[in-house]
Amino acid sequence: MKITIQFGGGVHLLFGNIKLHEIDLPDREKHWTIGDLLLWMTDNLLQERPELFLQDKSVRPGILVIVNDTDWELLGCADYVIQPKDTIGFISTLHGG
């Protein structure tokens, strides 16, 4: 299943400095939730310091998860079932001015 992963607010630094990843999730019987995707990303995309991305099996505080321009909290958080061509964003909040 082809999906797009997008990083913002500096999260890309943990993923080889690349902001946009076109990925192909392996086909399987069971559907893919974002919870599954987080684990897949940790094994396949994450390059360094996992504690700066994940905490207690979810994203660390201060990262917004966005599914096609919508906060994942409106869609069931980690239980959201990923659809083909979804764009899933991980955006760290900024604090500078």
Binding site: G10, P61, D69, S92, L94, G96, G97
Partner: protein, 438 residues
């Protein structure tokens, strides 16, 4: 020396002229005010005000009623830096009746690329003073209230007790202040126009507006301090803070004139590289939110530095983690540096910007990625004569970490690492002021 004297004389003369100019401008102001009065053709706005704001008033989105509302509005701008400057500039121009600006910092040379209200001759003076002067000159019809003070629970409580603000603008630069302003806005029922920027990205939203969420609804737990980057370390481009600050002014005006399309329950992400704006749909107010929920547990302002585990400013707090015998003073460093290996552990981009001659660059991040490789580098670059290595960075903090961590891996290598105390900042202050203290 004569150049220095000439500089001093000029500075003195300019200061005197400025004082003179100030007095004349105040006189002119007073005369204008006397002459102005209320226009016989409108009950609230003066003749000048009608002409001045006509281009925005004749729009159906603003109208004369909207302009009158702006004139009667009070806005608090927290932080008069990269975001606060453009926001204040546009709000003052638009005729917001009363603008209070609060900030404790003084103007620095490294602020000027983005903090557009301050100029070269303001360096060293309070940001609030310099902004006040510019804004007052820009629009004499409105009231600007400058406050030089730290932003903390006490000062914010005092301000909000004395004045009923219609909107608060968050132009701060740290996590603790962001939570503080959020809670203060919820507890006093004031909309919060929140903006932030770093490098080429900006973010914008309005918190606690009607049934929209507050900052805590979206981010109940503060981010781990090590994931937060400030503008001094990460960098930021002026037009990026400019875009966000100007949009903060726009959202403020929209709130004041009761626009139905305020950026609440939405989160705007500006990517200056791709030139895109992404509009994220956020959730409603969280009824279990600790401050704006139905049964709030936070009912007065708390200690936000403690809550966030970080300070309420974006300055770097110096550390002290190496033993005195593993450090050398900057003057001593200056004598030794020609004959000793000096490793500058700043990021490569900073090293390329300015560096001491004959120093080698090996960044802190690269060292921590692979300490073994760094030790090989030290083996290659130290000589039989000297196994001493002087570790240097911007302020002397990362260099301490390197000395502490790497020295423990060097037991069989006969290499001694020394931290250069105070780093390049100390070098610039005590050895050569022409080295950029950035």
């Amino acid at each position: 020396m004569s150049l220095n004297r000439e500089l001093e004389t000029l500075k003195q003369e300019i200061a005197e002229l400025k004082e003179k100019l100030n007095k004349k401008e105040q006189l002119l102001h007073a005369l204008y005010k006397k002459q102005e009065g209320i226009c016989t053709y409108n009950n609230i706005l003066s003749t000048d005000e009608i002409v001045r704001y006509s281009r925005q008033m004749i729009m159906p989105d603003i109208t004369v009623t909207g302009q009158e509302t702006l004139k009667n509005s009070k806005v608090l701008i927290v932080g008069i830096g990269g975001l606060g400057c453009p926001a204040a500039l546009y709000l003052a121009s638009a005729g917001i009746g009363e603008i209070t600006i609060i900030d404790y910092d003084a103007v620095e040379l490294s602020n000027l690329h983005r903090q557009v209200l301050h100029s070269e001759n303001d360096i060293g003076t309070p940001k609030v003073d310099s902004a006040f002067k510019k804004l007052e000159r820009l629009n004499g019809n409105i009231k600007i209230i400058p406050i030089i003070d730290h932003v903390n629970s006490t000062t914010i409580n005092r301000l909000l007790k004395a004045t009923k603000y219609d909107v608060i603008i968050d132009g701060s630069d740290n996590v603790a202040t962001r939570y503080l302003l959020n809670d203060a806005c919820v507890l006093n029922n004031i909309p919060l126009v929140s903006g932030s920027a770093l490098q080429m990205e900006g973010q914008l939203t309005v918190y606690h507006y009607k049934d929209g969420p507050c900052y805590r609804c979206i981010f109940p737990i503060p981010p781990p301090p090590q994931t937060v980057t400030n503008c001094g370390d990460g960098g930021v481009l002026g037009p990026v803070t400019g875009v966000i600050g100007v949009l903060q002014a726009l959202e403020t005006i929209k709130i004041l004139i009761h626009s139905p399309f305020v950026l609440s329950k939405r989160f705007l992400i500006f990517d200056g590289i791709a030139s895109t704006f992404q509009n994220i749909k956020l959730k409603q107010r969280n009824i279990k939110c600790e401050v704006c929920g139905d049964a709030p547990t936070i009912t007065s302002l708390i200690d936000y530095e403690q809550f966030c585990g970080s300070s309420a400013h974006d300055k770097v707090t110096d550390i002290n983690i190496v033993k005195p015998e593993q450090e050398i003073e900057i003057l001593c460093f200056n004598k030794l540096r020609d004959d000793t290996l000096v490793v500058d552990v700043r990021p490569e981009l900073e090293f390329k910007m300015c560096c001491l001659p004959k120093t080698l660059n090996y960044s802190y991040t690269k060292i921590m990625d692979n300490i073994g490789d760094f030790i090989k580098f030290l083996d290659v670059n130290t000589t039989q004569l000297s196994k001493n290595v002087l570790v240097l960075c911007r302020r002397g903090n990362d260099s301490q970490k390197v000395v502490k961590i790497v020295q423990s891996h060097l037991i069989n290598h006969n290499i001694n690492l020394y931290n250069v105390k105070g780093g390049l900042h100390a070098f610039s202050k005590q050895v050569d002021t022409t080295f950029p203290c950035y």
